[in-house]
């Protein structure tokens, strides 16, 4: 429900007023990136240098200090994103790609070829790219779901016969070395 904000100068979305010259505009951008980068860094840094063309930002800290970013704007933004994705009931997309085999479509997910048959995979199964791991029924068509990479199934996230959306996690996967 963030649509349709009326009126004027939102200080949150206008952190860099007066960007008149190109260099100043660049600086605004560099600064924004610096703040965002700081928020994204897991550990607080000692030195930070960002440069884009003629604009640059350099910061040095004495101590790594407390990891929490103090900027409230930033916190609000980050929280907004979290809320949004949690509203959609999904973990962040970046994690998804790494840790899960996800649904390629919308429909009903089945673990096995037919009722009573053995599941394609289960916890402990080692899967290879292209290996069938389930079926999605969409408009009465049975669409095979295949693993897109190598790994070992460590959790069955979506039960047999459950509805799934696009990109929903089906199985959690542990990467398998060599």
């Amino acid at each position: 429900m963030t649509q349709n904000l009326a009126a004027r100068n939102d200080p949150y979305s206008e952190p860099f007023p007066g960007a008149e010259s190109a260099a100043a505009a660049d600086l605004a951008l560099v600064r924004q990136h610096a703040v965002e980068l700081l928020a994204q860094l897991g550990r607080p840094p000692r030195n930070l240098h960002l440069q884009a063309g003629e604009a640059s930002v350099d910061i040095t800290w004495d101590e790594p200090g407390s990891p929490e970013p103090a900027d409230r704007t930033l916190l609000t933004e980050v929280r907004a994103v979290e809320v949004r994705t949690s509203e959609a009931g999904q973990p962040p997309a970046a994690d998804l790609a790494q840790a899960y085999l996800t649904s390629p479509g919308v429909g009903v997910f089945y673990h096995s070829r037919e009722p009573g048959a053995a599941p394609f995979v289960s916890v402990g199964s080692l899967v290879q790219p292209g290996q069938q791991i389930g079926i999605i029924e969409a408009m009465k068509l049975m669409i095979p779901v295949e693993a897109d990479r190598t790994g070992r199934i460590c959790q069955v996230v979506k039960g047999n016969g459950e509805p799934v959306e696009y990109a929903e996690p089906l199985f959690a996967l542990e990467p398998e070395e060599g």
Partner: protein, 502 residues
């Protein structure tokens, strides 16, 4: 509207401002809503606005907003009893309408057969001629050969336009000025039409250079009742892209409006039309008008009609689809004052209207008396590059056109959308409002070209089509639809301005 059972839950198979607009209509009627979204749109306004939201696919529309299985499954999984298709995407796809019916889900729009018939320009022309609508002189159906085209052209007189029956929105069309060009043009176009649309049929019509694009809004229920809600003038276009629409059409007499309206309702009844629809006409500066095509969807520019009639077209679509009877007769439709809509696209008018999407940092929309804004934008919204550039529609109403223009000038100056890379058409539209030609209401579809001093889009250029409201490139190459993808074909080539000086 009389009391009828209303839908319990409606899935909105679209994105952007129209998805939000329909979610609002549903909420006002007490209907629960399901939004569907692509990965690209996961942070979109309608996803949080709707009661439920289903992730239906990745960004490319072919795998999300144009994927019939994904949308049907989303409706089944959420238990939606109807689907509103919005505009663009699947809104005029008869296959989709048919699948909905098979699945026991109400498609909010006309029956599949009607969509199919009106999607075939050649068939639509014939059907509407039979229903008594004036059409431009031309071939009686497809021309089977270059020779037949030649006969037709000589009969109706040059210039003529050769069009693919399955074309639309400026694609598959050529203007021909003399015998010598015609045979080769027709033969080339057969191949092109086959390639583009999988349908080689062509027909020939008289070409009119200076024209206005006037359309009639109709509403029909499933009991044979129909009314028209007056006209919209959509002549402010750049290369078949509508930029600004208004109602009523300036300098069009009430008697012409009444005749166009009555003809449209007659045509709609003849074909068994149900729901909200638009009949497009070419008006050539006299009081004559010619049927061009009919659109089977809610239009981007529907708000101007809502503002002058007080009738909520989104709600009416829902009521009619739920089996409601039209609660109004023609005499109840009173058009009051004048309304204008400006489309704010994220495009750079200084760079040939190149797409200029990105993250919108500051987003301020006008408000106050008689100003309406339909937008899915918000501060922080990242406008995707892969969909339609429409960010907001600003609509103003006033007792007369001059005041509506003044109010729109006020509203546009209040609008602000800034961010890295973001440019909008707001400033350009202020220029249109300022032009003497527009203010006097004497403009035709050549206005924007003249203001930009751009070479007008000539007949042969395959320009991205019509309102191109949804999907842009994503729409092209969609699923099997009469008309070649679901691109709405609101602007036929006749409305393209003639080359300057011709």
């Amino acid at each position: 509207m009389s009391d009828v059972p209303m839908f319990r839950k409606v899935l909105i198979a679209n994105r952007g401002e129209i998805a939000l607009r329909m979610a609002r209509a549903c909420r006002e009627l007490g209907i629960r809503t399901v939004a569907v979204y692509s990965t690209e749109d996961r942070d979109s306004a309608v996803v949080s606005y709707a009661d439920e939201a289903v992730h239906i696919g990745p960004g490319p529309a072919k795998r999300s907003y144009l994927s019939i299985p994904a949308i049907i499954e989303a409706a089944r999984l959420t238990g939606a009893d109807a689907i509103h298709p919005g505009y663009g995407f699947l809104s005029e796809n008869p296959d989709f309408a048919e699948v909905c019916q098979q699945e026991g889900i109400v498609f909010i729009g006309p029956p599949a057969e009607v969509i199919a018939a009106l999607g075939d320009k050649c068939a639509a022309r014939r059907l509407m001629a039979e229903a008594g609508l004036p059409i431009l002189p031309g071939s009686h159906g497809p021309v089977r050969s270059a020779e037949e085209a030649l006969e037709t052209a000589r009969r109706i007189g040059y210039p003529v336009i050769v069009k693919a029956a399955a074309g639309g929105g400026g694609r598959g069309m050529r203007v021909v000025y003399q015998d010598g060009e015609l045979v080769s043009t027709v033969n080339n176009l057969y191949g092109e039409a086959q390639t583009l649309f999988g349908d080689a049929r062509l027909y020939v019509e008289r070409y009119v250079a200076s024209t206005r694009h006037i359309e009639v809004q109709i509403l029909c229920d499933s009991y044979g009742n129909g009314v028209h809600l007056g006209v919209r003038d959509c002549s402010v276009q750049r290369r078949h892209q509508k930029l600004l629409e208004e109602s009523p059409a300036p300098r069009l007499s009430q008697s012409v409006i009444d005749r166009m309206g009555a003809a449209s309702v007659a045509g709609a009844r003849a074909i068994g039309y149900v729901g909200a629809g638009t009949f497009e006409f070419l008006v050539d500066g006299t009081d004559d008008f010619f049927f061009m095509e009919a659109n089977c969807r809610i239009q981007v520019e529907h708000p101007v009609t809502e503002m002058v009639t007080g009738i909520d077209l989104g709600q009416e679509q829902l009521r009619i689809a739920a089996g409601g009877r039209l609660g109004i007769e023609q005499a109840d439709v009173v058009n009051r004052g004048a309304a204008i809509e400006c489309r704010i696209n994220v495009e750079d008018p200084d760079r040939g209207f190149a797409p200029a999407p990105g993250r919108i940092e500051i987003f301020e929309v006008p408000s106050g008396p008689f100003v309406r804004v339909d937008t899915h934008g918000y501060p922080g919204y990242r406008m995707p590059a892969i969909y339609d550039p429409l960010l907001a529609k600003i609509i103003t109403w006033a007792p007369d056109r001059d005041q509506a223009i003044a109010r729109m000038q006020r509203a546009l100056t209040e609008f602000r959308a800034t961010g890295p890379g973001i440019r909008t058409t707001a400033g350009f539209l202020l220029g249109v409002l300022d032009s003497a030609e527009f203010r006097s209401g004497t403009h035709d579809t050549g206005l924007v070209g003249r203001l930009l001093d751009e070479p007008a889009a000539a007949g042969g250029t395959p320009v991205a089509g019509g309102t191109a409201v949804a999907g842009g490139t994503a729409v092209a190459g969609g699923t099997t639809v009469a008309g070649g993808g679901s691109t709405p074909a609101t602007a036929a080539i006749q409305r393209a301005p003639a080359p300057l000086g011709s």
